[in-house]
Amino acid sequence: MPQLPEISSVKTSNGAVRQPARERRFPWLNLPFIIVITCVVAYGLVIVYSAVRGQEDYSFSRQAAGVAVGAVLMMLVWRFDYRKLSDFTTLFLIVNVVLILSPHIPGLGTDAGMGAQSWIKLGIQVQPGELAKVTVILLDASIVARYGGRLDDPREYCKALGIMLVPFLCIMTQPDLGTGLVYLFIAAVALVVGGARPKFLLITLVAGIAAVAAVFALDEVLATRNADGTVEYKLLKNYQRARLLVFLDPELDPTGDGYNLKQAQIAIGSGGLFGKGLFQGTQHSLGLLPEAQTDFIFCVLAEELGFFGVMVLLALYAALVLICFNIARSAGDLFGTVVVMCVVGMWLFQILENIGMDCGLMPITGIPLPFVSYGSSGMVLNFVMLGMIGSVWTHNVSKR
């Protein structure tokens, strides 16, 4: 991770030391931040190019267009003062609920074929659950910002937690467990950074595990057994159960989800130290990797560029995370800090889940790899997040 020392030397110094930096011509410009995101996006485009070549259903230019649109949006958001948003808790809550529940509106929602009602059609198909990540972050940050970093009253804590759980409960009506877990993780980061007492966090964790156990116990009771011997569960869908089971034992179902996981692992493992060469991946080009453009795109990278190629991506991610940490620390208000940390936390979770699922550390869920997975709306969304971070940076420059 070559960038780390340089970046930390710039950003970890305190305000007094950084005084000369104010004399720069573009004080709002965070050069390391720009360089790292440029590298991550460019690297991601190369991987996408390899993954979509020869595929009729995917187009590289669409992905590139997503980057272009995203970059413009990022600029707009960057210039916008994020502080104006810190008071609109109620508005964010309403927007979230409407957005996440919109696929249920008749005529608007479409079933994308995965058994979940999670898409809407507005000229183009969009997943409102993805867009809502932005508003969920803003909602959670605005809640914890109200308490000014001291969430030590149990009643207030419960109130905050209750509001934060609303988006999760809404998304589970679709149901979309993957996105739901992202919301939960964002909420957890907001609570940690927002100053909730460790005791509360611990109790919440235990209660959460107990709730999950209760859901499963209840599910066993509610399950209906069909005439042909199959069991139909009400709360957790059968395909979600299958994915969890396969995570435990990939050999269980080598043609379904287990097959996907096995092929993904073969692709990663066979990449070796230096990979099979860019555009030379056999697992991918022979069509053995399912959803190689989206959920399993990391396998394309791992197969073609090997351990070194993978490490470059992880290093870029780590650099991005570190720069963002510093931006968060330098923010003058808790709202800005929490927003940045929630975005970083979300990315961390997506990186862990996406790569972890490919190599068998995590169960299979459809969570995209930030800046790499195919999908222009996801790309635009991530650029908006970058814009928010940039806004936090720019609008605190004067105070540094």
């Binding site: 305000g15 970093g149 001291r150 950074v193 066993e220 070796g272 808790l334």
Partner: protein
Amino acid sequence: MLIAFIAALVTLVVAAIVVVAVLFLRNRSKSANLSVNKNVRPISSVGVSSSLGDAGGRVGGGTPRSSAAAQRPVANPADNLRSRFVAMGVLAAAVFGSLTAKLWSMQVLSSESYVSESEENQYATVSTPAPRGLIYDAAGVALVKNRSSLTVLADSEVADDHDVLQRLSTVLGLPYNVVRQRIQDTSTGAQSQRVVAGDVRLRDVAFIAEHSDAFKNVTVQTRTVREYPYGGLAAHVLGYTGAVSEEELAAVPEGRDIELGDDVGKTGIEQFYDRLLSGDHGQRKVVADASGNVVEVVSETQPTKGSDLYLTIKAPVQYVCDRALANLVAPVNGVIGTGKGVSASAVVMDVRDGGIVAMASYPTFAPEKFIGGITTEAWELYSSDEAYNPLLNRAIGGLYPPASTFKAFTSLAALAYGFANGGTTWNCTGSWDGWDTGIPQRCWNHSGHGTLDLRGGIVNSCDVVFYDIAKQFWEHGESQGGSIADTALQDYLKKYRFGETTGIDLFGESSGRVPTPDWKAEWFRNQPEEARWQGGDMTNMIIGQGYVLATPLQLAVAYGAVATGNIMKPHLLKEVHNAAGDVAASFEPEVLDVPDVPAENLATVRDALRGVATENAGIAALFNRYGVQAACKTGTAEHTDDEDTAWFACYAPYDDPRYVVACLVEHGGGGSAVAAPLGAEILAAALAYDEGSLTEVGEIAGSTGKSDVHASGGSGGRTD
């Protein structure tokens, strides 16, 4: 399930616990020793931020924080903030660390096993089926050939896909229901893909290939399939092929490699010599993608074609047989019942080496119906009651009472035991009551034959003569206080291999039956009053009635032994030619046995059989028409509630036997009226072929599955 979910979240939970634990530890260390340096900076930063924040109108941010800082300096927010950053940093480090460690172990430490799995994924070995060997007659006339056929196949799930079925129906020009029925059909056994249509036009195949999206799970293959130039000619001998079944796959004989989807011989020569005909698969190592399309051929070995077989069958003689049987039984539009009887069979054997010159059975079938799996409609046609089981080879698998044709062998037994000799005479009055039951047994000629010797008994087929001989055997049996075995007659008959298979190179041969007291006791074990062996059983058996059963092939082999003295093993295979065209093996004649029969006894019986051919006006006229010097015997098996079954056995030339013919018309009428003309025609054809005057070979049609038995006109009672 619970365990599964908990395990799935373990990574997350551990990470979260680490975060919380770090928060705890940081808090504690903070409260324990307050470092001035660390305290000053956060407070100053909070101060700046809050004052500015208030100015900016942020209500939630500033006020509570400053009051909190005043009340609880130890747990001030900025101080907490720092520890929280550390916690987040630990989380990030844990994420990147665990991913790096896992990827290191996969990509560096155990990469090799993944590489080999990846290569396994990449390369597939496809075996290409070998063309089967061809089958020729003795002179090299091809009876079974190969041709290539474009075949459309579909996976079984296509049967549920209405759209694909509709498109297949339109493109192939087949009714929708037929397409669906063929895909649902499971008679092809282990093969997962069902044949929708064979011999598809190239342009239709091209259309399907171009629109593969619209024809999901439909594939097109070029298959080598059997071709039968003469239709159903010798169908029972040749047999048919079909896709290998699961049972056959489970029990593959050593040295034979069969794979799923291969064609194997199911009956006849195709089945018996399957190993010779099948050849060896070729192997192609290919790079195939996930949907099984071949991207690149890495290496290839060509399949080896199976060996060609030359049979002892002579196609023109076979054609005469098949055609004569069809014309006799079902002359009008192939409807059984418009001629004589319901089924018929004929065997022509070369008595010198046992080679089968022709073997026919009617009703017959068209082997091409089995190409690519028999269709449901064809199967239903062949298995209907009206079709009279066209798939059965009656020449080897049909069992019938041999009737008076048996008298040649019972005569030899009588001569051997001295119950008859040249001077013995009998007086036939038309009935016989040797058992003093008051219910006399009748000779077929109810008005009686008068005084006869043994030769006269055979020539006139007089039953009374043989009833009396049977009584002699009975009375001289051990159980009646006599000196010979109770089964002396049966034992003598078994010398001519009645009651056992001949060992011809076909599967499905029946052994027939020669009844004995033991057999009867076993057969009627549940009806003890019927189980006792009686004198009547002997009198029935000696004229080939009652419990005696034989196949046409057994009778041909036995008459061949009368003609030459040798029991020849009947066989169909003449030569095996390997893929290069060289003779790899040829069949050696095999004498199964030389029955220990005095020459003068044989001469007596041969003379009597010659007498049958010359002294019965009708039969003599038949052979005279063809100019054949034959010896023969007719037989009429009587059934209590059905038309008689006609038999005829003959060989020629009388003084230097070359061919023996046995033929049968089930429920066709009397032997001399129905079977004799058939046998004479076939025997004459076999001799004419040798002279070169018979060369015509034509096509034979399979069963139509229709019958109209009530119109059957059996020609009167017995005349033998």
